[in-house]
C-alpha cells in the first residue's frame, strides 16, 4: 500500500521494508501489519519472543511542583500511592466521564530524566490528548511536554524476552519488575526499560532516542537463532491484545463511554478524595448508584464465522449492540471478540443479568455476519491466561 503524504514513518520504516513487511496506515503512521504471517508472529510471541516497533506511541513528560495534584485531576486512579519507579494503567476521562484515551503513567522522580511523571499514550490520540492535557495544566503549577517526536519505542514480549535483555547486559535480578521502569543501558545504548506490554505475556517496553532505533532493533533481532525472536506487526499485536482481554482505543474505548461501561471498573478505585474529570458519573456507576447505559462484554463464537468490528449484535431477537473487535484466536482455535451491549431497549430482567458479572457469563448473543445470525456466548476476560512475571 502506498503511503499517504501525511502518514508518518518511524525510524525503522526501512528495516520493516527490508524484512518484507506489509505496511498499512495506522493512527497517522505507516506501520508494519505483518512480516511472515500473523499466526506465526502471534505464536512466536506466546512461545518465544516477539519484537514490535511501537514508535508511533506518544510520550509525555509531566513536571513541576503540582505534578501529582494535576494527575489526580485528570485520571480516576490514585496517583498519590504510585511509588517511585512504578507504573499504573490509567484512563483519561473528559468532563462527562467518556474516555479521551487510556495511558500508562510512570513515576520517574527517582530517575534522571527531565520529568516527574512519564506518560505513554496512544498514537491515534496524541493530537487529542496533548491539547486537553495542556488546557487542564493551566490550573496547576505544572508543565506538559510532548516528547512523542523525540523517542522511538520497541516492545519485546514473550517468555524469552528476559533472556534477551540479560544477554544485552541487564541481569535477571536487575531487570525491572512487573509494571516498573528504570533507566539503564542495553549494550551501552541508554534506554528507559519498563516491564509492561500489550500482549498478556511477560516482556519489556524500551524507550530511547530515535538515533538508536536501527541499532537496537537489529541487535535484538540478532538473537533470532538463540531465542527465536521474530519481528511482529500490528496484525498479531491485535490478536495478542484481544486474547489478553486488553482494550484498544477507538474500539472498546471512546469519548461516549465511561471506563465502567468499557468494563475497566477493576482499575477504578471506589474511593479517591480528590475530584477528577467525570468523577460524578464514573464513581456513581462504579458504586452501582447509577445504572450503566451500556457495557462491554467478551464473547466466544459458537460457530465458525468470525465477528468483525461494527457487526450488529442481537439478544433474544432484538438488536442489542455491536462488535467492537473480533478475530480468530490463534491460541484457542476459536473466534473471539468484544461487543458493546446497549441496555436502553432491552428487557429489564435481561439487563439485571447482564449487570451481574457472574450471571452474565454464558448468556447467548447473536452476531449478524453477512445477513445471518450466529450464536456467541458471553465469557470472562481474558480469553487466554496472562503470563506475567510478578
Amino acid at each position: 500500500m502506498e503511503a499517504d503524504i501525511q502518514d508518518k514513518k518511524t525510524f525503522l520504516y526501512d528495516e520493516h521494508l527490508k524484512l518484507g513487511a506489509k505496511m498499512v496506515p495506522f493512527g497517522g503512521w505507516m506501520m508494519p501489519v505483518q512480516y511472515e504471517g500473523i499466526i506465526k508472529e502471534h505464536n512466536a510471541t506466546r512461545n518465544f519472543a516477539g519484537l514490535f516497533d511501537v514508535s508511533h506511541m506518544g510520550e509525555v513528560y509531566v513536571r513541576g511542583k503540582e505534578s501529582l495534584e494535576y494527575l489526580q485531576k485528570i485520571v480516576p486512579q490514585d496517583i498519590s500511592t504510585l511509588k517511585e519507579g512504578c507504573a499504573i494503567y490509567c484512563q483519561l476521562p473528559n468532563k462527562d466521564g467518556g474516555l479521551i484515551d487510556d495511558l500508562i503513567i510512570y513515576n520517574v522522580k527517582n530517575i534522571d530524566i527531565e520529568a516527574d511523571y512519564f506518560i505513554v499514550i496512544n498514537a491515534s490520540r496524541i493530537d487529542f490528548d496533548i491539547p486537553f492535557m495542556k488546557e487542564e495544566a493551566k490550573n496547576f503549577n505544572v508543565e506538559i511536554v510532548n516528547k512523542s517526536d523525540d523517542f522511538s519505542m520497541l516492545a519485546l514480549q514473550g517468555p524469552n524476552a528476559k533472556y534477551i535483555i540479560q544477554k544485552m547486559g541487564v541481569e535477571f535480578e536487575l531487570q525491572p519488575k512487573f509494571f516498573t521502569i528504570q533507566k539503564t543501558e542495553l549494550n551501552k545504548i541508554p534506554v528507559l526499560l519498563t516491564r509492561t506490554g500489550y500482549t498478556g505475556e511477560d516482556g519489556f517496553e524500551i524507550v530511547f532516542e530515535n538515533k538508536y532505533a536501527k541499532e537496537l532493533w537489529n541487535m535484538i533481532l540478532s538473537f533470532k537463532d538463540e531465542f527465536s525472536v521474530v519481528p511482529v506487526g500490528l496484525g498479531a499485536r491485535d490478536t495478542l491484545r484481544l486474547e489478553a482481554g486488553l482494550p484498544l482505543y477507538g474500539h472498546e474505548l471512546d469519548e461516549n463511554t465511561t471506563p465502567i461501561e468499557s468494563s475497566l471498573g477493576f482499575f477504578v478505585p471506589k474511593e479517591k478524595k480528590e475530584d477528577y474529570n467525570g468523577k460524578t458519573l464514573i464513581l456513581a456507576q462504579k458504586l452501582k448508584q447509577k445504572p450503566l447505559r451500556k457495557k462491554l462484554f467478551a464473547f466466544v463464537m459458537e460457530d465458525r464465522q468470525i465477528a468483525r468490528n461494527g457487526y450488529d449484535v442481537y439478544i433474544e431477537g432484538k438488536k442489542a449492540g455491536y462488535v467492537t473487535s473480533g478475530a480468530p484466536s490463534p491460541t484457542l482455535g476459536k473466534n473471539i471478540g468484544f461487543c458493546m451491549i446497549e441496555f436502553e431497549n432491552l428487557d429489564s430482567n435481561l439487563v439485571t443479568r447482564l449487570n451481574n458479572n457472574q450471571e452474565s457469563l454464558g448468556i447467548i448473543i447473536q452476531v449478524m455476519v453477512r445477513n445471518k445470525l450466529y450464536n456467541a456466548r458471553i465469557t470472562k476476560k481474558p480469553f487466554v491466561k496472562k503470563n506475567y512475571e510478578k
Binding site: 504471517g37 499466526i39 491485535d238 464465522q305 468483525r308
Partner: protein
C-alpha cells in the same frame, strides 16, 4: 505451486479454468499473498446460480473478511469440501485448492473481459 495452463484471471483476483463445459474457480496466488493466513472460507450451496461479478463466497483471513466474485456466470456443481476444515490449504497452493466447480452458462461472452495469467501478473505488479 503450478499455474495450470489455460487459466483466465479477473481484475478482482479470481481464476477460472474451463474444460468440457465445466469450470473450476479459485483465487490467484497474488490475492492469497495479500490476504495472509486464511482461517475460514464460506462456500455457496451446490445448485445455486450466480451471475458474473456476483459475490459467491467469502474468505476470512486473520485480519479481515473478503468477498469473492464469480469471474463467469454459472451454476455451482461442486464445492471444495477440503477447504471447509483446512482453509490453510489455499495459502499453500491456491491453484490446487480450487473453491468451486461450476457449469458456466455463458462462458464465451463472460470470458471476454478476463486476462491470461501473464497479463494479469503484469497488471497487479
Amino acid at each position: 505451486m503450478n499455474i495450470p495452463d489455460g487459466i483466465l484471471c479477473s481484475k478482482t483476483h479470481e481464476w477460472v479454468l474451463e474444460e468440457n463445459g465445466e469450470a473450476l474457480i479459485g483465487l490467484t496466488d497474488w490475492a492469497v499473498e495479500q490476504l495472509g493466513d486464511v482461517v475460514f472460507i464460506e462456500l455457496p450451496e451446490v445448485g445455486s446460480v450466480f451471475g458474473k461479478d456476483e459475490v459467491f463466497a467469502t474468505i476470512e483471513s486473520v485480519k479481515a473478511a473478503s468477498e469473492i466474485y464469480m469471474p463467469v456466470s454459472g451454476e455451482i456443481l461442486e464445492v471444495n469440501e477440503q477447504l471447509i476444515n483446512s482453509p490453510e490449504l489455499i495459502n499453500e497452493d491456491s491453484y490446487s485448492a480450487w473453491l468451486v466447480k461450476i457449469k458456466p452458462s455463458n462462458y464465451q461472452e463472460d470470458a471476454n473481459g478476463l486476462m491470461e495469467y501473464d497479463d494479469y501478473k503484469d497488471e497487479v505488479q
